[in-house]
Assembly symmetry: C2
Homo-oligomer: 314 residues x 2
């Protein structure tokens, strides 16, 4: 069965004759007749009673007619339907984020995304960089939000923003008294470190190593929120991303920017080198940027370059 056969069939049913239908379809009458006969053979049912002047539907033809119309309508609507879907933001998007980013921007990003594209379905995968890259290459996710460095040749990237690392300290800690700290202050003090399986943990590690600073690592954890708790209990200090600070409502820690060569991580969107980003994915990237800019604007009161220790008005 093919669509043109259904088109011919409907034309005959509507016009009441093979010849008229042929004119409507801009084909010769024998061509149309043959296709109708072919359709009748395939269905094993005669579709029209050929009377002298006109042709009328048989019972089988009457049963076919609404189905044929439906199919033709759906086929005819495909092109505009696809455009509508693309235009309206309907569709499916699969993204990934690393665990040191997701908790801080995902809530706001999802909220924005659903507001902008209520018809879209999004699926989020929170995982370590290595696993996300595999998912990109394996085509399981379209896009990932991660942190440099990423070396895989199959990955293409676009930078989203730079996220500074700031010192997290207990409010009663000695260093909390000054408005800002320097790298040198880290030397030899008890330090709560993020596990190096996290790229952020590795980045901090490298950062200290390059400057030949060996913090006294008293704890190595998998979770930034564990770090927060340890720091607030005075177990040590740590370096945490600013996006954590901007969404911290606990008031248990204070945060100080690093004077001088402030460490930072570069957050990027990454996707398969050979894939063209879908419209939804491109929009998602923009939303992530917007969200971070929004956090910067509303949640960090950097009067004289320092991070406010207390976030009010959440």
């Amino acid at each position: 069965m093919e669509l043109h056969q259904l088109r011919y069939f409907v034309a005959v049913a509507d016009s009441g004759g093979f010849s008229k239908a042929a004119r409507i379809c801009f084909v010769a009458q024998p061509s149309l007749s043959q296709q109708i006969i072919k359709l009748e053979k395939e269905l094993g049912q005669r579709l029209f009673e050929r009377l002298g002047r006109t042709s009328v539907l048989t019972e089988a033809g009457r049963a076919l007619l609404p189905r044929a119309r439906l199919i033709l309508k759906e086929a005819g609507d495909i092109k505009s339907g696809i455009s509508d879907d693309l235009g309206s933001g309907a569709g499916q998007l699969s993204v990934g984020l690393i665990p040191t980013i997701a908790p801080y921007i995902l809530p706001g990003v999802l909220k924005r995304f659903y507001e902008s594209f209520p018809k879209a379905r999004i699926s989020v995968n929170e995982n370590l960089t290595e696993r996300l890259i595999k998912s990109i290459i394996g085509l399981e996710i379209e896009l990932a939000v991660m942190s440099l460095p990423i070396e895989d040749k199959l990955i293409r990237m676009e930078p989203l923003f730079e996220d500074p690392l700031v010192l997290a300290i207990s409010p009663v800690h000695e260093l909390a008294k000054s408005e800002h700290v320097t790298i040198e202050d880290l030397r030899g003090i008890p330090f709560i470190a993020l596990d190096e399986e996290h790229c952020l943990g590795e980045q901090i590690n490298n950062f200290c190593y390059e400057r030949q600073i060996n913090p006294d690592i008293v704890c190595r954890t998998w979770n930034l929120s564990t770090i927060q708790h340890c720091v607030s209990f005075g177990s040590g200090v740590s370096l945490v991303p600013k996006m954590l600070v901007m969404t911290d409502v606990s008031n248990k820690c204070v945060y100080r920017p690093i004077k001088g060569q402030s460490p930072k991580r570069t957050v990027v969107a990454a996707w398969h080198r050979d894939r063209k980003l879908s419209k939804l994915a491109a929009e998602f990237i923009q939303i992530v940027k917007d969200e971070y800019a929004y956090l910067l604007e509303t949640r960090s009161y950097e009067g004289s370059g320092n991070v406010s220790p207390i976030i009010a008005n959440f």
Copy 2:
């Protein structure tokens, strides 16, 4: 757009590659590729991203996929769907009946029909013979229940039953005293006649003319129920079809069979000479027969050849 293109498209989407899809569809890979490319051109959208090893849907492809599946499913279900419709008695039937038949059997026939074919739609047209024949030829109705004679060469017929004509008289009339009457009793007595535009009126007219009986026609009406009222008021007698008697619950008239050559009309189903009756139409014919037989069985108590004047237990 053609269905085989959608089939190929779905196969690629499902298998994740053109070559695999081609094997699934039992065509060579270039053939399938060409059809996909053709579809992409028609839609103005690229449907797959061709990556090295596999191909994945674009956003447009994702939008197309469910639509394509739907259409293919509907197309695949057509054959069985038609069979189901025919088997389940779904469908549309247009019938006609003449006014001297419809009131007496239509209620019971429709009830039976709806019980047997709850999914069917029936449309009934009550009209004079001449108009019904036009409707048959004009293909507006498929079937008509009428009375002989019918001469049109374009009409094919099947007899349904013979419906005797019986004398309708007032209960206080002289003739009501005898169990039966003869034709000769009609001579010269006041007679309520049906208009000759009705075939029944003409038949009665001819019947009397052939026997050279000239009843004294005191009233000519368009409606059998008018006749009933006139007769019950003693204005005269009339000949009415037995199907009227069998459904008369008024008890205002009594009815007497005609002894000897009883007049009768032959009720037939009529349809277009060149049309094959649909299953529903054939069933309708059978139901009309059944209904008349049922009326005969339950509504006429012909103990000794006479018609019961009073129909009880309705």
